[in-house]
């Protein structure tokens, strides 16, 4: 990020004047609670009694020796596949199909594909719980109708399949978002590149790899940051569909925080997990930003 120069005679603090109103509200109602959460992670506290006990790093020790945290974290990593890798892949595929040559009816498809992003996750969860219902859910009904009764499952209750099932809801929500993002980016890639490479005898796939993907570097970066963060902080979907079950097969970090804080009154412990989650999310986004700006400087 470059520094902006003040014009001659202009106060160099001028930017602060514009920054301050937004910054103050942000500091008071978002940043201060973040600090307070970090502070609370060093205490044992039930969240409502006046008494807090300083316990140092004990909450963190408990987190790291808690097998539930480890498995929850692993589940979040699996969710990255579903929230990030698959949607980016599908998004690229769709965007490559949609753009460049205008297809009749494109607006309709664009509108439809983005729809899941618009709907509350509580609503999304309600819908998919019904779809996965083993008895009257459309998925098993469809499989039966296709003569594939052997493939029907108790999806959300199946120890092996619950995690991929919930994850695929994430894919459903995210792929339209990725597509629109890439579509936006592809409008900036000059048609000349494609024409030139056509003359060189490159096929559509080669063009995609050598022109489209590099041209979408920035958009892919945004998609990665957004979807990975979504995968790491997933909560509402698990809350509505499985509540972490069966067993702990779909337990994720976000739900563990909620469960510890609101069902078990362990605010200090929940704050420690929350602090770790924040740090992880921060690390991921900084890493991706770093990689991206590195690339940009290289290619510039």
């Amino acid at each position: 990020m470059r520094a902006n120069q003040a014009y001659p005679g202009e106060n160099k603090w001028k930017g602060w004047l514009y920054l301050l109103p937004g910054l103050l509200i942000y500091l008071a109602f978002t940043f201060y609670p973040i600090l307070e959460t970090v502070r609370t992670s060093f205490y044992e506290w039930n969240g409502f009694s006046a008494q807090r006990t300083w316990v140092g790093l004990q909450n963190y020790q408990m987190v790291f020796s808690d097998a539930q945290f480890t498995s929850a974290f692993l589940h979040n990593l699996v969710f990255i596949l579903f929230y990030c890798v698959l949607p980016v892949f599908i998004g690229l595929l769709l965007a490559s199909v949609l753009s460049r040559r205008a297809l009749p009816g494109m607006t309709f498809f664009r509108t439809v594909l983005f729809l899941p992003q618009v709907i509350s996750m509580v609503v999304v969860g309600v819908i998919w719980r019904w779809i996965f219902n083993p008895q009257f859910g459309p998925l098993n009904i469809l499989l039966n109708a296709l003569g594939l009764s052997g493939l029907t499952r108790a999806w959300l209750g199946d120890f092996a399949l619950a995690l991929p099932a919930v994850g695929s809801i994430g894919t459903w929500v995210q792929y339209g978002f990725c597509m629109i993002l890439f579509l936006a980016g592809m409008q900036h890639i000059s048609e000349e590149y494609y024409e030139a490479s056509s003359l060189d005898g490159a096929n559509a796939f080669q063009q995609f790899v050598h022109i489209t993907i590099p041209g979408l570097r920035a958009e892919i970066g945004v998609a990665l940051v957004t979807t990975i963060i979504a995968a790491l902080r997933v909560f509402d979907l698990v809350y509505v569909t499985t509540r972490g079950g069966p067993g702990n097969a779909t337990l994720v970090v976000g739900f563990l925080i909620y469960r510890s804080a609101f069902q078990q009154n362990r605010i200090g412990y929940a704050s420690a997990i929350a602090t770790l989650l924040m740090l992880m999310i921060l690390a991921v986004s900084l890493l991706i930003r770093r990689l991206q700006t590195g690339n940009e400087e290289e290619s510039a």
Binding site: P134, F159, T242, Q263
Partner: protein, 439 residues
């Protein structure tokens, strides 16, 4: 000049927000006449029929106490669990609220000094004639919040609950099945129903909590009242790792393996399994008396209710107890009025209204109350009466430790899915229980 325009723009935006905010009227802010007292009550009777009972009771209370206004706030149980603890720390929090029993709610609130001990009112209103000591202990804690089941009384419950077996009478008639009298007959009936091609037990374990009832209903047939009391109240150092619990777990796992539960039960939620049962898919379902009201309307099937039958030659307990009690905030300035309200909530009139709404009242019905009992509600009433008089009211075991609910749900789902053995199951649960006792 530009500066001024800048600030004006900001002011306009904030004025807009401010205006918007004042648009919503808050009833608390309207000044009441000096002689009028407002009692703020939080309850979780949000479903249609229940809510109407509460509105009626509140209106009658207001009529009987001129100058008193009830400000009712309705919440779902989940919502109540999240918000109530914090609200009770407020100087203007609810005067009366429904507080869920068990350690993570009532226990934690007692420990933090948020609830008023009701013992003086117990004497004043002679509540011991309304409910037994066994019922009172479910709403009792020692003042430090550590020991459950004894010490001070912190709440009074208007409704009662019993977990038993609903059966589809229409289907039973069609196949000529009889209501089983012993557990052995019950088990044999399950096999027979399975053979006929029907689903023996409509069940869904996706939500988790009702799996606890499924297991514990069998457990209650095997253990003694002392054991279940000790376990729930965390006294006398009992263990979860007992032969009875292993046996109950094994029976449950056998049922799952034998296909006695709804197909794909692991992926079905509680509400969905009930909807299936109501639609005639499933001969029986094991759940609480609260479902009775739901099964009466909008269905062409006829349903009945019986208690889980005892093992041959044994006496049986049943999961049950009283509903979520009303409690008083310790810092309220209207304690006497609040107690008067509590007394009204457990009056014969309240019992009558609850019964008419198809819910089991915790109190005796008044003489001559006209309530139809030749139906499903009558069955649940009879069941409650049987265990209440027979001193056979068990417990929801998930009250035992703050983490017991989550542990039981996760471990039962593993047990049902044959991921773990009955022995693994009791060991894992015992680990949670021990960790709590040693704390």
């Amino acid at each position: 000049m530009k500066r001024i325009r800048f600030s004006v723009a900001i002011l306009l935006v904030f004025a807009f927000i401010l205006g918007a905010c004042q648009g919503g009227s808050k009833p608390t802010e309207t000044q009441a006449p000096a002689e009028e007292t407002t009692l703020v009550v939080w309850d979780q009777f949000y479903r249609d029929v229940e809510s109407q009972v509460m509105d009626t009771l509140n209106a009658e209370f207001e009529a009987a106490h001129p100058g008193v206004k009830i400000e009712r706030v309705v919440k779902t149980l989940d919502d109540l669990k999240v918000t109530l603890k914090l609200a009770l720390t407020e100087a203007n929090g609810p005067d009366v609220a429904q507080v869920n029993q068990g350690r993570s709610d009532m226990g934690a609130m007692v420990e933090a000094g948020l609830l008023l001990p009701l013992d003086s009112y117990l004497t004043k209103y002679n509540w011991s004639s309304v409910f037994s000591t066994s019922v009172a202990s479910r709403n009792s804690f020692t003042p430090d919040g550590k020991t459950f089941g004894q010490g001070n009384l912190y709440g009074v419950s208007p409704t009662a609950e019993v977990v038993g077996v609903y059966y589809n009478k229409t289907m039973f008639k069609k196949y000529g099945w009889e209501v089983p009298q012993t557990f052995e007959e019950f088990d044999a009936l399950l096999a027979k129903i399975k053979e006929s091609g029907e689903t023996p037990i409509s069940f869904g374990s996706l939500d988790g909590w009702n799996a606890i009832h499924e297991f514990s209903a069998i457990q209650h047939l095997l253990v003694s009242l002392d054991y279940i009391n000790n376990l729930t109240y965390g006294v006398n150092n009992v263990s979860f790792k007992t032969d009875e619990n292993i046996k109950a777990a094994r029976i449950l796992q056998e049922w799952a393996k034998s296909g006695y539960f709804s197909e794909g039960y692991a992926g079905i939620g509680y509400d969905d399994s009930n909807a299936l049962f109501k639609a005639g898919q499933g001969a029986m379902t094991i759940t609480g008396s609260w479902l009775a009201g739901e099964l009466i309307n909008d269905t062409d099937q006829e349903f009945g209710f019986f208690l889980m039958p005892p093992f041959e030659g044994k006496t049986a307990l049943a999961i049950g107890g009283v509903g979520i009690p009303f409690a008083i905030r310790s810092t309220t300035t209207k304690a006497d009025l609040a107690a008067e309200y509590l007394n009204w909530m457990i009056s014969p009139r309240a019992a009558e209204l609850w019964a008419k709404a198809g819910m089991l009242p915790a109190m005796a019905l008044p003489e001559g109350a006209e309530i139809e009992t030749d139906n499903l509600f009558g069955d649940t009433l009879k069941a409650w009466d049987t265990i209440n008089k027979g001193n056979a009211v068990g417990h929801y075991i998930d009250w035992a430790t703050p983490t017991f609910y989550d542990t039981l749900v996760a471990e039962l789902q593993k047990l049902l899915g044959s991921i773990s053995t009955p022995e693994d199951f009791v060991s894992a649960v015992q680990k949670d229980y021990e960790a709590y006792l040693n704390k």
